[in-house]
């Protein structure tokens, strides 16, 4: 990541303390080292969680949205979350940046200490009174009522084994001008879709999205639910560039023994950033039916419950796919078949 390299170069130059209160390097502090760097900022200073105002031409160059992305990427690499607020005042352009400790989804406890009591500082930020973490608040994505084609069956009863690739699933902020979620399904290691898996085998969750504009960036979050309870959340660690408009597959690979035996309902939320500087939109697809992760028990029985195991990090990938190869009976909005 360029920002990491930049940071590393800056640290090696020994100038990490030569910054003013806004966290920017003093002009000429690292001559030769940072001359080509677009944002010669000492990001380490932002780890103190204090808000800073950066001025274009003094603390950064170029469009504020580039600094916005830079801050977001650096914060992620530091294990933090960047709050960024653009602030145009007449001919001057400013960006306020504040790093906070983590994100917390609505109805989730503090990710640091599991405290179930949080304090609201503003609509975007919560504070944990237990561990004093500042947490960026992620509300539930906006969801529209389910839209069904005539003849679609009602949702299957809970617990019934059925594909998660439900064409009638909801899409949230349905901005057809940017992108839409086409399908979501689970694949075996050989690429064949399946409905049930053993805990001993790896599986890939694949989300197909269709982008209508080039150069979109996406960041995907999947969550698994058991009943009304969310039991697992994973977010793509970086934003992925989709390149040209078309079909794209976002895949996340679950290694064997990552998930315990259970029946999960899957929900996918894809943040889409068109690079305009506007807030990203969120596409949501909720598996209205159930995916069954059913153990194919060996003869000597299931692995012992309660045995500790280490969960490896998930692998995410994004690639363009041929629309002809996408298996879906999803009818796009343009066809006018959806209500």
């Amino acid at each position: 990541m360029p920002s990491l390299r930049l940071r590393e170069r800056f640290r090696r130059a020994g100038n990490s303390d030569d910054t003013d209160r806004a966290g920017a390097a003093q002009p000429g502090a690292a001559d030769g080292m940072l001359a080509s760097a677009p944002f010669p900022l000492d990001w380490e200073r932002f780890a103190d969680r204090r808000p800073r105002r950066l001025k274009r031409g003094k603390h950064f160059v170029g469009e504020p949205k580039l600094l916005h992305r830079e801050a977001r990427d650096v914060a992620e690499s530091m294990g933090k979350v960047a709050l960024v607020e653009k602030d145009a005042q007449g001919k001057w352009s400013y960006v306020w940046i504040q790093f906070v400790d983590a994100e917390v989804n609505e109805d989730e406890p503090c990710p640091r200490c599991d405290s179930h009591e949080l304090l609201k500082l503003n609509n975007e930020v919560l504070r944990c009174p237990s561990c004093d973490s500042m947490l960026a608040f992620v509300p539930h994505p906006l969801e529209m009522p389910p839209r069904r084609r005539p003849g679609d069956p009602a949702d299957a009863p809970l617990g019934e084994s059925s594909p998660i690739d439900d064409p009638s699933a909801m899409t949230g902020d349905d901005r057809g001008d940017l992108a839409e979620i086409v399908s979501t399904r689970a694949l075996r290691p050989d690429g064949t879709p399946a409905e049930a898996f053993s805990t001993d085998e790896a599986l890939t969750l694949e989300t197909i999205i269709r982008s209508y504009q080039p150069r979109l960036r996406v960041n995907t979050m999947i969550s698994a639910h058991v009943g009304d309870q969310r039991v697992f959340v994973s977010r793509e660690p970086h934003w992925s560039d989709l390149g040209k408009a078309g079909m794209h597959a976002i895949r996340v690979q679950f290694p064997a023994r990552f998930l315990r035996n259970h029946t999960f309902r899957l929900k996918v939320a894809v943040k889409v950033d068109d690079g305009s500087g506007a807030d990203p939109i969120t596409l949501v697809r909720r598996g209205s039916k159930w995916i069954v992760l059913q153990p194919e028990l060996p003869e000597d029985g299931a692995p012992p419950i309660g045995e500790p195991f280490v969960r490896p990090a998930l692998e995410w990938s994004t690639e363009s796919v041929d629309p002809e190869e996408v298996e879906t009976d999803f009818v796009s909005i343009e066809d006018g078949s959806l209500m």
Binding site: M78, L83, E108, L118, N122
Partner: protein, 313 residues
């Protein structure tokens, strides 16, 4: 489905930057409760003090908003007091034949009174509007909330500095016209007057800023309240010109004493009465203390209400 076992710990919530072992799936998970953060006066002040370097950056927003898109730019800082004083002089000094006490020209008298009054009026006005001005920022990053009124009060102080410059320039002009120096400065009286005015204004503004965050009617109402208050205060007329039956208005008006202090400190024409001064000091102290308490407890809620108003619009 019969073979499915109750999972012992299926997964853990994984959030960016915060991996941790989560609770067991089958455990009873208590509901997550999100409460409004409650600040105290002390925590508000200490947080604001820690981030005091942001105050000028916030304060300059109002100035930029004022001059942005104008052809005359910063000249408006000087034009406004001049135009207001000229207008008042023409209406009250010319049309209504109100005169200043002693030999002081009415223009200079009004300018001295307006310098004190404008500090009060503009401070209350900008504090009342402060959540409107900083709303987007307050929702985007976590700013010390007490910095918002502090930054809002910065611009009125700049404005009053310009009023004082115009006042000084007028003294020079009238020296050349009349050959007399009308300035009779009493620094202690001027500073005391300004301190009382600022304390009262910030106290009132702390209340109205939060209330305006809940309902914008407050801003509209305050405009008329301040207009009426101006004419009830001896700004454009000397206190001695008030008819006997109406003197009680001046006595209970907490702005009377500080305005008289300013006029007395600049021109030695004020009539500072002990009773009025006590009323003013008590008013400033009560408003400041209660305003701080109210602001610390209610400001965060107003940010939310403002957000709802914006969405509603």
């Amino acid at each position: 489905m019969d073979s499915i076992q109750t999972p012992e710990a299926p997964t853990t919530p994984r959030l960016v930057g915060a991996p941790h072992p989560g609770p067991a799936l089958d455990a009873e998970r208590p509901e997550v409760v999100v409460r409004d953060a409650r600040d105290t006066i002390r925590s508000s002040i200490s947080h604001a003090w820690a981030e005091r370097h942001l105050a000028p950056r916030l304060g300059v927003r109002v100035l930029v908003k004022l001059v942005s898109g104008t052809k005359l730019g910063l000249s408006w800082l000087a034009i406004r007091p001049l135009m207001e004083t000229v207008g008042m002089t023409l209406i009250f000094g010319g049309l209504l034949q109100v005169s200043a006490p002693g030999p002081v020209p009415y223009f200079i008298f009004v300018l001295a009174g307006l310098t004190g009054w404008k500090l009060f009026e503009r401070t209350v006005f900008y504090l009342t509007r402060s959540f409107d001005v900083y709303r987007k920022l307050m929702k985007g990053v976590v700013l010390p909330l007490l910095l918002i009124p502090v930054a809002s009060a910065a611009f009125p102080i700049v404005e009053i500095s310009v009023y004082l410059l115009v006042f000084a320039a007028s003294i020079v002009v009238f020296y050349f016209i009349d050959g007399q120096v009308y300035l009779q400065i009493n620094t202690l009286a001027v500073l005391s007057g300004f301190a009382l005015i600022l304390g009262s204004a910030v106290g009132v503004g702390l209340w109205t800023s939060v209330l305006n965050g809940k309902a914008r009617d407050v801003r509209l109402t305050m405009r008329y309240v301040l207009q009426i208050w101006l004419f009830l205060t001896p700004v454009v007329y000397p206190l001695s010109a008030l008819p006997g039956p109406y003197e009680w208005i001046a006595a209970v008006n907490p702005m009377t004493a500080p305005i008289e202090l300013v006029k007395s400190g600049l021109l030695n024409v004020g009539d500072v009465r002990g009773d009025d001064l006590i009323v003013s000091i008590c008013f400033a102290a009560v408003m400041l203390a209660s305003g701080l308490w109210f602001y610390a407890h209610q400001a965060r809620r107003s940010i939310d209400v403002l957000g709802e108003i914006e969405e509603g619009e």
